[in-house]
């Protein structure tokens, strides 16, 4: 897959970060040893809804090692409410509950002690007097007129209800030959990184500086902390040189950070909060989307899908935060890879007495893809058509790109039919089908699942103004700086944390490519936020595009400077000079080498061409390639680039035991130019594993009493090496015309289609009984009970 013109991009080079991790030398927040640090343990509410009558901290304060016990009453007087993405000003949120508990597990008080164990001892002794309030857990119930209000001040439990009509929906429905309706439900799962969220804050009153080390993946993190703490932006210094033990969206931690920062200022000591697993599960505010899709779709008997009406009802949990925006991002790929002429989309977010949602890999795209792909399967079944044939008929064709979908986004490039053909050839689809039928003849349930999905990438924030007109954010930039030091060494900077995506490798590779020098000789650093260029963190599959673009462009600027210096030294025009691996060559063969160029740049300013800055440094702030427009008429260009994936799965299971086993898993993947094949492969395989969890195993389940039943890893079930099969990846490359190397995003790949594909395989396996299971995760006992019921009915 190596482009012949490229030396490093797309080559199978090692991932540079791996060396420190295999040596156990990563630097995670819990590894930092800052002298004098105090530890926080949280007092969690047990009720899903209650009025706080009083909090008695006397006994706890008297215990060994205890320094402070903080309540929401005190904290809320000292800090501003946390960021609220929606236009719901009365839905206020503080790190600790103020007055009313809104979900079981919510933080009621924070105990600060000299060790975590002592803090936990004292947390048990904080007495919280409460009066129970009625509560609501289910999203549809929460919409009812008699539902208990989660935020009485807000007036209803509806946080967001927006209907978009893109194109002639009514006309298309009237003209279509056939239609059907379906409902599918995406269960509340999340990414649940193995490292919980952690943060350390230290306040220096003499410098008036708040230093923060955190396991973070959050756009505008420093800004949000400063705003909540009512500090100037330049009084908050976030250290980006902290390794993050996984995130995939959820490591946002604003509430944790505001809490420990307040305590650090109050107590004059560094304070740390490393969530334990129970705290993380029940109140890390990191659970993912939970969504009911109701779809009406209009189509012709030849399988042409004309129009779709989709209602997505999302259960946001107790507070709004940014999570409801996850209803917005899918607008950028609301028709998936299909030519659907018109769409009505109703996005509804409702508040309930569950833990707060956070961003999860794909930011709402995986649930939407699951809904769209289930819809396509249902249409095929309804028409008695082959599922692949139906998709082929509706897929956007390679010659139609760039292709603008009804909601206003233009897909940059793709060749969906070819990817699918390559996968079917690789898998030998006919043989796979024969294998399914053979398994069925053996008495097993067997099914083939397919999913054709998009991964919108290059994340910007267009969904914010689309869902909240008061929010005029138009886009998200990313910066990088490249310098050549006086000894000729190259250093690139990244201005955010990473959580396993290999950004150091990415930056070194593209800078090495531009400058023609070995990436392994390039140093990559992460300055703190005050020394950083503007950036927006690795969200929305954006770093290959945005950081890759910024670093490449900064390096190109440096290269331009080097060419100018070399040309000047040789007395030629820069346009006559050529650059190769650090040497500038004149047409007549004369050359100026790297050492000489560096020497001029750093010491011999008299040899610099006029108007050239000394010092050999360049920065670039990359703008999202598709620009800066705000929405108009409910339409907007969402993300710039669109990766494509096609999943093909064979599953089988015993009809009674119903443990779905994956017999074969093939994915075709096209994310444009691959910068590092190891990294892209890892993202895809990991995303599929994550999707297997969402489809079959993982759910934050609440009981009727509002209690979270999956507080530990004994009940929140993540796939192990036994549940994840070996996956075959079929590559295809349709470069993006919008990016430096033709790259697109891949950080969410696999996860975006795996749940749809696995569900499709299970439904195909159930098809002999004429039944479906339309809620994820597909629990074994539900599958088995459904079959048993069908057999009883027959």
């Amino acid at each position: 897959m190596t482009d012949p013109g490229r030396r490093f991009v797309s080559t199978n080079r090692r991932v540079r970060e791996d060396r420190r991790f295999v040596a156990g030398a990563g630097r995670y927040v819990a590894d930092l040893d800052i002298p004098g640090t105090l530890h926080v343990a949280l007092v969690a509410s047990t009720a899903p809804a209650a009025k706080i009558l009083g909090i008695d901290t006397t006994e706890a304060l008297a215990m060994e090692g205890v320094v402070d016990v903080l309540t929401g009453e005190e904290l809320s007087a000292g800090v501003a409410p946390l960021m609220n993405g929606l236009d719901t000003p009365r839905v206020r949120r503080f790190p600790l509950t103020v007055g009313q508990i809104r979900y079981a597990g919510e933080w009621v008080a924070a105990v600060v002690a000299t060790s975590r164990a002592l803090a936990e001892d004292a947390a048990e002794k904080v007495r919280v007097r409460t009066e129970p309030l009625p509560f609501v857990i289910d999203a549809e119930t929460a919409l009812g007129p008699d539902a208990p209000p989660v935020h009485p001040e807000h007036g209803s439990n509806l946080l967001l209800d927006k209907t978009f009509d893109w194109g002639p929906v009514a006309d298309d429905f009237a003209a279509a030959e056939d239609r059907l309706s379906l409902r599918v439900t995406w269960g509340r799962n999340a990414t649940v990184p193995i490292e919980t969220f952690g943060v350390i804050a230290r306040w220096n009153p003499w410098d008036e500086m708040l230093d923060v080390w955190a396991s973070i993946q959050m756009p505008k993190y420093a800004d949000q902390i400063a705003r909540a703490l009512k500090l100037p932006g330049n009084a908050v210094r976030v250290h980006y040189d902290v390794d993050v033990g996984g995130s995939y969206g959820v490591k946002r931690g604003i509430k944790h950070t505001v809490l420990v920062s307040y305590l650090a200022r109050k107590l004059g000591r560094p304070v740390r909060l490393i969530e334990d697993r129970l705290e993380n599960m029940r109140a890390g505010d990191a659970q993912g989307p939970e969504r009911i899709f109701d779809i009406d779709v209009a189509f012709d008997r030849d399988g042409t899908v004309r129009s779709m009406k989709m209602r997505a009802l999302d259960n946001a949990g107790a507070y709004a935060g940014r999570a409801p925006f996850q209803l917005g991002k899918p607008i950028g790929a609301i028709v998936g890879p299909y030519r659907i002429g018109s769409v009505q989309y109703r996005a509804m977010s409702v508040t309930t007495n569950k833990a707060v949602q956070e961003a999860v890999r794909g930011f709402g795209q995986a649930p939407t893809n699951y809904a769209i792909e289930t819809m396509m399967d249902r249409i095929a079944a309804h028409l008695g058509m082959d599922r692949l044939e139906l998709r082929r008929r509706n897929l956007i064709r390679a010659d139609e790109f760039p292709y603008t979908i009804p909601s206003g986004s233009t897909y940059d490039s793709g060749d969906y039919h070819t990817v699918i053909d390559k996968v079917l050839a690789h898998a030998d689809y006919a043989a796979l089908t024969a294998e399914r039928d053979r398994l069925r003849a053996e008495g097993l349930c067997a099914g083939i699942g397919i999913a054709a999905c998009l991964e919108p990438s290059g994340g910007n924030s267009s969904f914010e103004p689309l869902l909240n007109e008061n929010n005029r954010t138009s886009t998200w930039m990313e910066g990088s700086r490249v310098i050549i030091d006086a000894l000729g060494g190259v250093t690139v900077t990244i201005h955010t944390t990473s959580s396993g995506q290999g950004h150091e490798t990415l930056a070194a590779t593209v800078v090495g490519e531009e400058l023609g020098i070995d990436p392994d000789r390039i140093r990559v650093t992460r300055p703190d936020s005050l020394s950083s260029l503007p950036g927006n963190s690795p969200v929305g599959s954006r770093m290959a595009i945005m950081l890759g673009g910024a670093a490449a462009r900064a390096a190109r600027d440096l290269k331009r400077q080097l060419v100018a210096i070399g040309a000047h030294a040789m007395g030629i025009d820069p346009s006559e000079a050529s650059y190769e691996a650090g040497t500038i060559t004149a047409p007549d063969g004369r050359a100026v080498g790297w050492d000489e160029l560096v020497d001029i740049g750093h010491r011999r300013f008299h040899d610099l061409p006029p108007g050239t800055n000394p010092g050999l440094a360049a920065s670039f702030i990359q703008q999202v390639p598709t620009g800066v427009a705000l929405p108009e008429d409910g339409k907007v260009q969402m993300y710039p680039c669109y990766s494509f994936e096609f999943h093909l799965v064979l599953m089988a299971f015993d009809p009674v035991l119903a443990k779905p086993e994956i017999r074969r898993y093939v994915i075709g993947h096209d994310c444009g130019t691959v910068i590092n094949p190891h990294i892209v492969r890892g993202m895809t395989l990991g995303g599929i594993a994550h999707g297997i969890g969402a489809a079959l195993l993982e759910e934050f389940t609440y009981d009727d009493g509002g209690q979270l039943m999956t507080q530990s890893f004994l009940d929140y079930l993540m796939p192990s090496s036994h549940e994840v099969p070996s996956v075959e990846i079929v590559h295809h490359c349709t470069p993006s015309p919008l990016t430096e190397f033709g790259q697109k995003g891949s950080g969410e790949s696999g996860y975006l289609g795996a749940p749809a594909a696995i569900s499709g395989a299970v439904q195909d396996a159930l098809s002999p009984w004429g039944v479906t299971v339309d809620k994820l995760p597909l629990r074994m006992s539900t599958i088995s009970d459904t079959i048993a019921d069908a057999e009883t009915a027959a």
Binding site: R116, L657, M709, D715, R779, A788
Partner: protein, 291 residues
């Protein structure tokens, strides 16, 4: 998730251990710790003192007598899994041990600890129940008291363990010379999770190839593992049809529970399916031995 404060002692003899346990109602035995330590971490368990019995030599090891195999309580599950004596003489246990936790928990977890905790989905208690193995407690006077599994396991994590006593060893009968086949099956969301249902079976064949004895037990579906009467299989040729019939009859009144992960009716069907599979596996195993 830090435990509450407690003391820790590591006695060298059964007498010392029993003495401490008898003198303090809040003392708890610590063996492999693979079940207890998570409970400590979550503060579900709040002992005054932990009595670490893993260095009491008398409680370790696998002993072969004329007609029994005795397994010391603190014998590690990994050691039992690796034991040729257990493989040869208590093959059902050897099969079940492969399903206990995973390698890093088997390397610390003890055979006796699993029994003492009485988890209804644990594999070793199920095997004990199927085989009617003996559970021997010793008190501080060195007096021994033996329990039958059916009397010992009384509920989830509830046993009839005598106060102040220490589970010292498990006693299994050695298999006889007749062809003895075993089968063990369980089903869970993930391979090493608490099973939704599990089944252990053992059949002994007569020289004529008919069944001399058939034993079956079901675990994970209710409060305790239960032995299920499939004596009706004796004298049959253990055809698929015989097995299906016997299982259907034996499990007709099986009580199963609902929980977050599986419904009671699923458990009931799964138990029957696993029972058939375990008995079939046991039959095939025995037939292979019979040649």
């Amino acid at each position: 998730m830090k435990p509450v404060q407690f003391d820790y002692v590591r006695p060298r003899t059964v007498e010392d251990a029993c003495g401490i346990l008898a003198g303090d109602m809040d003392a708890r035995v610590l063996a492999g710790g693979q079940t207890l330590v998570p409970m400590l971490a979550m503060r579900l368990s709040r002992p005054s003192v932990l009595v670490d019995i893993t260095r009491i030599e008398a409680l370790r090891g696998i002993t072969l007598t004329d007609d029994t195999v005795e397994i010391g309580a603190v014998t590690r599950q990994a050691a039992a899994l690796a034991s040729e004596v257990i493989r040869d003489e208590v093959p059902l246990l050897a099969k079940a041990l492969r399903h206990v936790g995973h390698p890093p928990t088997r390397s610390r977890g003890t055979v006796g600890g699993s029994v003492a905790h009485g988890d209804p989905s644990a594999e070793i208690p199920l095997v004990m129940t199927v085989l009617g193995a003996g559970i021997v407690f010793t008190d501080d006077d060195g007096e021994e008291e033996a329990f039958e599994p059916a009397d010992f396991f009384i509920g989830p994590m509830l046993t009839s363990a005598p106060m102040g006593g220490l589970l010292s060893r498990l006693v299994f009968s050695r298999r006889g010379s007749a062809p003895t086949g075993t089968g063990f099956r369980e089903i869970a969301s993930r391979r090493s999770d608490y099973a939704f249902a599990s089944a252990g079976a053992q059949v002994v064949l007569k020289a004529d190839g008919t069944c001399a004895e058939a034993l079956l037990g079901i675990g994970s579906v209710g409060d305790t593992p239960v032995a299920v009467d499939v004596a009706g299989l004796s004298g049959t040729r253990l055809t698929d049809r015989d097995i299906r019939g016997a299982v259907a009859e034996a499990l007709e009144d099986l009580e199963t529970v609902d929980d977050l992960h599986a419904t009671a009716r699923y458990r009931k069907r799964a138990a029957a399916r696993l029972a058939e599979l375990a008995l079939t596996e046991a039959r095939d195993d025995a037939l292979e031995q019979a040649g």
